[in-house]
Amino acid sequence: MKATKTARLLVAVLAILGLAAPASAQTQVFGLNVEGDIEAGGRIYGQKPSKSESAKFEEYRDLPELPYLGQFRLRLFTPDESYSSEFEGSKWGQQDQEFSLRTGRLGLWEFGFDWDQTRHIFSTNARMLATESARGVFTLPFPRPAGAAYNTARELDEISTRWDTARILFRLTPTPDLELRAQYTRTHKDGDRPIGVPFGFNVIEVLEPIEQTVHDFRLQAAIAREQWQLQAGYTLSVFQNALSSVTADNPSSVLATDTAFVVTATGGTSTPIAGRLSLPPDNMAHTLSLAGGVNLPWWRTRVTSNLSYSLWLQNDDFLPHTRNPNIAAATPDLTLPQTSLNGNIQIFLLNLNATSRPLPPLTLSAKYRLYDYMDLSDTIVFPGVAETDASLVREVHRAGRWSYIKHNADVDGRWRIVQPVALTLGAGWERWDRSPHREVPVSDEVFGKAALDLTPWDWLLAKLKYMPSFRRINRYDTRAHALHTTTEEDALSPQLQSFQLRKFDEGERDRQRIDLLVQLMPTDTLTATPTVGWRYDDYIRSTLGLQQETSWSAGLDLNWMPVERVAIFGGYMYENILQKQRSRYRPVVTTVTAQCPAPPCTFDFADFDWISVNTDTVDTYHLGVKVSLIPKVLDWSMNGNYSSALGRVETRNPVRPVTGTAAQNTAAIAKRWPAFEDTLVRLETGLKYHFWKNWTAGVAYIFESFEKHDWRTDTLNPFFPAVGLGGIWLGNDLKDYTAHIVGLTLAYRFK
């Protein structure tokens, strides 16, 4: 049906164009010149990935097996070209279609409209036993089905989300030095994606309903004079979520109702029949900015600055602590102190940059940046919480606010020693001034910078950069976060973060970084670009946590045009990322045992340490050829890509764990993980035959193959007997695929 409609559309469009533009002379319609092109075709699969294999194949695209209107462009313009209007579209009628309209008066104003559809497929092989009785409400039959029933549940056609983006823009340039812009973008996201709803220690995976809209409205005015420029802008971004929660039935509930509330030392428990999880709340952000630049008369100095103020608001009503009435009724502790957050974040940004050239070969520059992120939302204290609709925890929880101020400053001097050699030396500083309730309230990072740019000959360009940096902190308090969010007694509990942990984003770090880019152009038609990058992060004083990270890459890119009719390009990139992290299994005993006479006990056995060395190695190749076999008549092109990634996680114990009980020792032993692997091969080759004056026929062959191994999802079923009802998944996995496609196209260019 769809194929027939598309075919009819194609024929109609081609017929109209054929009648409208029969000759090669400039076509005119109502006194306007017309030009454009249209390409239509058909796609034939030699081998098509099956539905269950198509999630990765069509992840962000739509490749139906039917005639299609690939490209259409129509430009109308006045004979003097002062006014023009251009409409173009591609992938008509497909899930990923896009259209664009631009109309305007040259140099004065422009109006634009864009429409884009992008879908993201998450899965095409998921199974779900629960049914969606209302949007975002997933119900299971009662009595609950046996575990095996989940594996024979209906297969979901597709789990995906589609983003439909519409954009309207208007640009006015009343004089060459004045520009006014207005732009509105509406992005509507519709679909689903997998999400887990936990109940205590069991979880069921269902679909998160996505019905979200983002409105983005921007206004900007800019004026530019020879010696100064000024621009002001306002941005409004509004996020709307049509849904506030997702609810799923508990596959482990034995009764048809939530079980009776049982009081415990810390609160109480009740097995829920269902759980409810919140979805992102509506929010709104306003940003005002003012930026300017001025050229000063001294030393060819230019100063630029930017001031920006943002206000982010969010005040959606809270959901109740739990949908489980037995927990809610058991205690007044779950009465909400207020109905919403009164969320208010204010951000102040200041940038001040100056560049100066006191001597012809010397350029000095200085930059300062202040980013002040103030979370002024209410700090709400909850006397208790209902964990996963399954248990009451009578423990004070404070929803902390985490403001921070970030300063960046750097200065550098660039000396052009001789025309082909420029040396840059500089230094910089970055300070994070966080809330005193973060582990590290203040950190300072200083860095040096040395860059050498060489262009000794026309055919050689080399850029080398070295940047060492050193981050130091005033103190590290592993319990600061907990002290702020729970009561002080709880925060001192040994069950919380290990005192030896140093989080990588806050802790002390020494970093070395080198980048080299060389461009060799031995002839006008040959360019070779080798590049090397190396980065080494040493998280010093990190007994536990990330300790080292080394990443390096080396690659080469080649572009060669041996004769005017032949272009060859290719490249290779090798990337290696190595991380070393150290952790310690810290068992807890909650009942009275010989090992733990006064529970709960947390054990910190030094021989329970484990070290994980995580290495990702990626090889990426590309090769392409474009040949004009018969000039202006027959072209051949070929393009190939190969990317292979290997991820290894090698975990070991530095010493054999022996201090705990037998069960604890077993749990502490490092386990072997199989490697993560994926390979993508893509080859596309095609011939284009230009016949008559404006017609082009094309034939193309495309081969694509994807293979991956991820032990976490390769054999994932919704239900595993060994797991029981503790985990019910959708069982989705991105499957391997191989595709052979032949494409036939016919294009017509009219003018």
Partner: protein, 323 residues
């Protein structure tokens, strides 16, 4: 949500009014058409000393002239100049050409700026030619930017004399190819299994970056890394009741937006990624393998099987990001 809707309606009306005002301004502006602008030169006005005029250039460089005339800039300069600078046509950028013409032409003759790879004119001087007109808006912070300070010329990325790309007169056919001339590794990352839709043509580098200089160290278009991500992923902006502080500070603590071989563009496979910061007691600290007794913690989406709203929660009991 109801209250929000009314607020949005008010803002919508205000926005609509603003657009209407702009529209009125536009409709009223035909009187400001180029021919009547004060800065517009009179047709046939004499050229400044040393200039030869576009017709003289065309006499020898006809093929180049034809290609340039088809570009947006060519149409503006050659047919509808708005001021005396644009009226100089080819010489607006290449400099006065009378000496070149009188010497009979030839490569490098007459001291003109050719913008070719082997042009000896310093990059700063070449770029200054473009900045005569293009200093405002996206180029305001060009001076001192990462690209400017490393001698990147406008013509490294832009081809002015012909339309090699559908938009922006790029040196290559697409933005990714243009940026990929130097940023080879980032271009390679787009081929990784977990990626944003760049190689599918739904995004480009310039959706997030402004290569002409911005107020961020990595040339991001918005005021910070997170604000750049929020421009599309606004659902993660909050403010949330329960905040995951490293998420609030930088999305790049966990994600590599250029592409990754791990799901969701994560920098490392879960649960190891989470275990770099979570060394609380009990389940976060077990080394964990692939046996089914570990399944809830490692299979499927691993830690986020249960901690599903890891970017922040607005649920009163969402302190562990499970609600």
């Amino acid at each position: 949500m109801g209250m929000k809707r009314s607020a949005i309606r008010v803002l919508g009306v205000a926005g609509g009014a603003a657009v209407a005002l702009v529209a009125v301004a536009v409709l009223g502006l035909p009187g400001l058409a180029p021919a009547q602008q004060p800065s517009t030169p009179a047709a046939g006005a004499p050229l400044p000393a040393g200039y030869a005029g576009a017709e003289a250039c065309k006499a020898c460089h006809e093929e180049v002239d034809q290609k340039f005339a088809a570009t947006k800039m060519g149409r503006l300069f050659l047919k509808h100049p708005r001021n005396t600078l644009e009226r100089l046509g080819c010489e607006t950028c290449h400099g006065p050409g009378k000496a070149h013409v009188e010497a009979g032409g030839g490569r490098g003759v007459g001291g003109m700026i050719s913008f070719a790879k082997n042009d000896k004119t310093p990059v700063e001087k070449r770029n200054a030619v473009c900045l005569q007109c293009h200093q405002k808006s996206a180029r305001l912070f060009w001076q001192g930017s990462q690209h400017e300070s490393r001698d990147v010329a406008c013509t490294n990325c832009h081809k002015i004399m012909e339309d090699a790309s559908p938009k922006f007169q790029l040196a290559k056919e697409t933005v990714i190819e243009t940026c990929g001339q130097c940023h080879l590794q980032k271009r390679a990352q787009t081929m990784r299994s977990s990626h944003m839709p760049l190689r599918e043509g739904k995004m480009t580098c310039t959706d997030c970056h402004n290569p002409h200089g911005t107020v961020t160290p990595t040339l991001l278009k918005e005021n910070s890394l997170n604000e750049t991500c929020y421009s599309c992923h606004a659902e993660k902006r909050g403010p949330f009741l329960w905040v995951h502080p490293p998420v609030q500070e930088s999305c790049a603590n966990c994600h590599d937006p250029h592409g990754s071989n791990h799901e969701k563009m994560l920098k490392l496979a879960k649960p190891r990624l989470c275990q770099q910061c979570h060394i609380e007691s009990r389940h976060p600290t077990e080394p964990r393998g692939r046996s089914f007794d570990q399944a809830r913690f490692v299979f499927g989406r691993s830690c986020t099987n249960c901690h599903a709203v890891i970017h922040g929660s607005n649920h009163p009991s969402g302190n562990a990001f499970k609600r």
